[in-house]
């Protein structure tokens, strides 16, 4: 067993896990944070996207042990103090989700991307979603949601 200590959503968490335990199963099964979904076994779909030290990663691609000593943020912590994140609001407002299975990954990928590029073009947003697949929406309203959120976030800062 490997001892893993990770800051998850701002709280120190630790556990002994099998060395082969993937970060996503550490989050889902050891810590009970089931908001992060698993959609494939090839790091293709991006449903499992979380933030590692603030940057988006596919949590099925990392071992839990690789997150040792680092900070992970999951969908459960995207809203703060009961207020939805502007991206969550925008996905709701623009019908950016249907079945919702890819949505946590989309939101975390977009949250990471908007920190890098707060004023993206539509093309930028589409390219930023390269690692996230959605089967329901045809992406149109996801892209619209992220652009809408970018607008409201930069507006809030201004």
């Amino acid at each position: 067993m490997t001892h893993v200590a990770v800051s998850v959503n701002g709280t120190p968490r630790e556990a002994d896990v099998e060395p082969r335990t993937l970060l996503v199963y550490f989050l889902r099964e050891t810590l009970g944070l089931t908001g992060t979904n698993v959609g494939c076994d090839t790091s293709s779909c991006g449903s499992c996207t979380v933030l590692l030290d603030g940057e988006s990663v596919k949590s099925c691609t990392l071992l839990a042990a690789q997150a040792d000593g680092r900070a992970v943020t999951t969908i459960e912590a995207l809203a703060s103090n009961g207020d939805l994140h502007p991206l969550q609001e925008a996905f709701h407002r623009n019908h950016g989700l249907q079945c919702g299975y890819c949505t946590p990954g989309m939101l975390m990928a977009a949250a990471s991307y908007l920190k890098e590029n707060p004023t993206p073009t539509e093309e930028d947003v589409r390219e930023s979603l390269e690692g996230n697949l959605c089967r329901c929406t045809g992406y149109q309203n996801i892209v619209k949601s992220i652009l809408d959120a970018a607008g409201s976030m930069s507006g809030a800062k201004a």
Binding site: E18, R20, Y25, R28, E29, L33, T34, G35, T36, N37, V38, G39, C40, D41, T42, S44, C45, S47, T74, I75, E76, L78, A79, L84, Q88, F91, H92, R93, H95, L97, Q98, C99, G100, Y101, C102, T103, P104, L107, E122, V125, R126, E127, L129, E130, G131, N132, L133, C134, R135, C136, T137, G138, Y139, Q140, N141, I142, V143
Partner: protein, 785 residues
């Protein structure tokens, strides 16, 4: 009875979203029970093999393993197949664990249960099967050969079903017409790829003989009745729950081996048993779609009048039948005339078994297959006679009608008005402008050529009138049900027989009921997907939910209002005839301030202190609605592409969809359905294809090889609507879940072909990958690239 429409037609934001955007949804893999075991399937790496023996001893001794079972160890029946479409169809036996023969990549010979997910998977890898490999056939052509190895020897042939629609009109026209167009089209197998894989959790109370199955399914109700038989569980002792379901697209319109095995293993072990599909399993063990070829003939005049349409199809059924398998091509059989009015018609198909995953419903289910070949054929005809494909379509449209009219295929079409959608789509697509641009680039021999593709379609939804399903030899009916319960606090609980998995029924159903009962959508809770909570229902598939389940709401509200009117008349001391329903209340005619709202009457009915004689307490009602007819959406899709004639690469410049789904309850949700449907159709046209190698192994066996398009591959779409209300139901609704996937593949392929047709290309194959397009151009030029 007047109803004030406040919410129907409005873009009400979805009630489903808050839990989904915050990670609080309850997908199947989030379910955990005390003492829960994990199940893993043993699928040996063979395509076609006789199983001599299975060695489970090593697996049984591994850490955490509770049991390893083969078919001989379990009492479980064959999996359900409910659509024997002809009297003489050959039906293969399909057990959850195969007994002596592996017939495709996904066939399982054993199942492991262990304490953890990893222990179950580890042990499954250590079950070995001693087999004698057999020659495999994964193409229909190979499977139909005289000396082909038989997939199921007891059936005597791999060709198991022949269904003919029968002809209408003068069949001689296909020889004698002044213009005869003959084409052969192939549509490859597709892998549905709901982003949530399948999964289930079974739990039992053995002393009571009671079972609960949570499963990622579109059809909890059908699963309950069929699994009851498969597993030997009395139906009333089996509860099936579809939790939040992460997409289906037809692939979860099925009853699978793993659901049956989890149930019997929960009985066997006395502990809850959970199984979650890995994506690699999903590619072989979940149903595929399409996989058909068509020989097509169009008889017409030189002026552009379509006289006759004839389609002879071969459908790849796979190694077994799943729930509906051979019924899928039959479903297409009713729409091969499209929105046109030919005088002569023929359709038939043969179903062929192969050593590949079973095919079954995939978004559109039969109708995309039909629409693809019809719309390709119409374009081929237009090219042959040198006419504009838009005008050929226009001159062949069935004239507008708002009284149900029998089509040449034999079913009644509820209503139709096809030209306005064509006109609007041509306008939105800047059709004439792009034609000019196309000519200019052709004249200039540009490397990048413009192509414009049209698809004018109709489809049928609202599956289905039960008597027609019976006539078609389908085992169940096509009705659906709703229960509406008005609570004393003015709130409303709706229980529906449909089972959504992304379509937003909670929101749409709330809009309908809010308008009908004079409350707000927020006052309403919609329950679904739990066989112990909802009325008996028929679930969600075939774009049926609104046009059947949604209409059941209307009839349940009629019952509620009838009772409410009686109570209102009693309280207001007038006769019922003196009341009218206006502005969300029963009002005394001439004295509208004397009024009772439904929530007020719900409270009266609940405390029941002063009800009229013979009136039962409480204000609730259940209605079961069996549609008298199908509903028939229609529309025009136009795709404009730019094809690089040197590389074969296609870029979509514009995509326009003008759909007519009758009355629209929530335009935002309707547009979302079209976006997603078109995206899946574009994927089908340009990217996706299940490929088997010569020995029958699926080579596109993961998301890294099977090209699901991302956000950079799918364009923004321009949408609009026409509204031709259905005459089938009082809401006037038709259905929109599948329209995008039905209409879009031929629009895209027609555009690609159109871009290079001046080079002599008449087909590019599907999907139109750069390589295929490049080869088509090279071949048209006589082999010189």
């Amino acid at each position: 009875m007047t109803t004030t429409e406040l919410y129907i037609g409005a873009e009400v934001l979805r009630k489903e979203d808050p839990e989904l955007v915050t990670g609080q949804a309850n997908f199947i893999d989030n379910h955990v029970l005390p003492g829960m075991l994990w199940m893993a399937m043993v699928r040996p790496p063979y395509v076609h093999a006789a199983v001599n023996s299975i060695d489970t001893s090593a697996a049984k001794s591994m850490p955490g393993v509770v049991g390893v079972y083969t078919a001989a160890d379990l009492e479980v029946g064959g999996l359900p197949f409910v659509w024997p479409i002809t009297e003489d169809i050959k039906v293969p036996v399909h057990y959850p664990l195969t007994k002596d023969r592996i017939r495709f990549n996904g066939d399982a010979v054993a199942v492991v249960v262990a304490e953890t997910r990893e222990q179950a998977l580890d042990a499954a890898e250590n079950v070995t099967a001693d087999v004698t490999e057999l020659p495999a056939v994964t193409t229909m052509e190979a499977a139909m050969a005289d000396d082909a190895p038989l997939i199921h020897e007891e059936l005597g042939s791999n060709i198991t079903v022949h269904w003919s629609h029968g002809g209408a009109g003068d069949q001689g026209i296909f020889d004698t017409a002044p213009v005869v167009v003959q084409e052969h089209y192939h549509q490859p197998r597709l892998i549905p790829n709901a982003i949530e894989p399948r999964g289930c959790l079974a739990s039992s109370i053995r002393s009571m003989g009671e079972f609960t199955l949570w499963t990622s399914t579109q059809i909890p109700h059908i699963a309950k009745v069929t699994l009851s038989g498969v597993c030997g569980i009395p139906e009333e002792k089996l509860r099936v729950i579809a939790p939040d379901v992460g997409g289906g697209f037809g692939s979860k319109l099925n009853v699978y081996a793993e659901e049956a095995l989890a149930l019997v293993l929960s009985r066997e072990t006395g502990r809850p048993v959970k199984w979650i599909e890995e994506r690699s399993e999903n590619y072989v063990a979940t149903t595929h779609g399409r996989g058909v070829t068509h020989d097509c003939t169009l008889a017409g005049t030189p002026e552009g009048k379509i006289l006759g349409l004839k389609f002879v199809e071969i459908a790849d059924l796979g190694a077994y039948y799943q729930l509906l398998t051979p019924g899928i091509p039959e479903l297409g059989g009713w729409v091969y005339m499209g929105p046109y009015a030919p005088e002569t018609y023929w359709f038939e198909f043969r179903g062929v078994l192969t050593n590949a995953s079973p095919t079954d419903a995939y978004r559109g289910a039969g109708r995309p297959e039909a629409t693809y070949v019809l719309e390709r054929l119409v374009d081929a005809y237009a090219r042959k006679i040198g006419k504009d494909p838009a005008e050929v379509r226009r001159m062949n449209f069935h004239p507008p009608f708002d009284v149900a009219t029998t089509s040449i295929c034999g079913l009644n079409v509820d209503s139709g008005n096809y030209e306005p959608a064509l006109d609007r789509a041509l306008e939105l697509a800047d059709y004439q402008q792009f034609r000019k641009e196309q000519q200019s680039r052709r004249d200039g021999s540009d490397i990048r050529q413009i192509g414009i593709g049209l698809s004018t379609y109709i489809e049928m939804c609202g599956l289905a009138p039960s008597n027609i399903l019976g006539a078609l030899r389908y085992a169940a009916g096509g009705w659906d049900a709703a229960t509406i319960r008005c609570l004393p606090t003015g709130k409303v609980v709706v229980a529906t027989g449909t089972s959504p998995h992304g379509q937003g029924h909670e929101t749409t159903w709330s809009q309908i009921v809010a308008d009908g009962l004079g409350v707000t959508p927020d006052d309403i809770t919609v329950l679904h997907g739990d066989t112990q909570v909802t009325p008996l229902g028929m679930d969600t598939y075939g774009s049926r939910s609104l046009s059947v389940g949604g209409v059941a709401l209307h009839f349940a509200m009629e019952k509620i209002k009838e009772k409410a009117r009686t109570i209102a008349a009693h309280e207001l001391e007038v006769s019922e005839d003196d009341l009218e329903y206006a502005d969300n209340a029963f009002r005394v005619k001439g004295a509208p301030d004397k009024a009772r709202t439904i929530p007020e009457l719900a409270l009266s009915a609940w405390h029941a202190h002063d009800l009229p004689a013979g009136t039962e307490p409480n204000l609730d009602a259940t209605a079961v609605y069996d549609p008298p007819n199908f509903t028939w959406p229609s529309g025009t899709h136009i795709c404009v592409v730019e094809v690089d004639t040197q590389t074969g690469a296609t870029d979509i410049l514009r995509y326009v969809a003008v759909d007519d789904c009758g009355t629209v309850i929530n335009p935002m949700i309707v547009e979302g359905q079209v976006h997603g449907g078109v995206a899946q159709g574009i994927a089908e046209a340009l990217y996706e294809e299940a490929i088997y190698d010569e020995s029958g192994n699926l080579t596109t066996s993961s998301m890294t090889q099977y090209l699901i398009p991302g956000a950079t591959e799918i364009p923004n779409m321009t949408l609009d609507r026409t509204v031709t209300p259905s005459t089938t139901n009082p809401l006037g609704v038709k259905g929109i879940g599948e329209a995008g996937t039905i209409a879009s593949p031929p629009a895209v392929i027609n555009a690609v072909v159109d871009a290079v047709s001046h080079l002599g290309v008449t087909d590019v194959g599907k999907p139109a990958s750069p390589e295929r397009v490049w080869r088509a151009i090279r071949d048209a030029k006589g082999g010189a690239a």
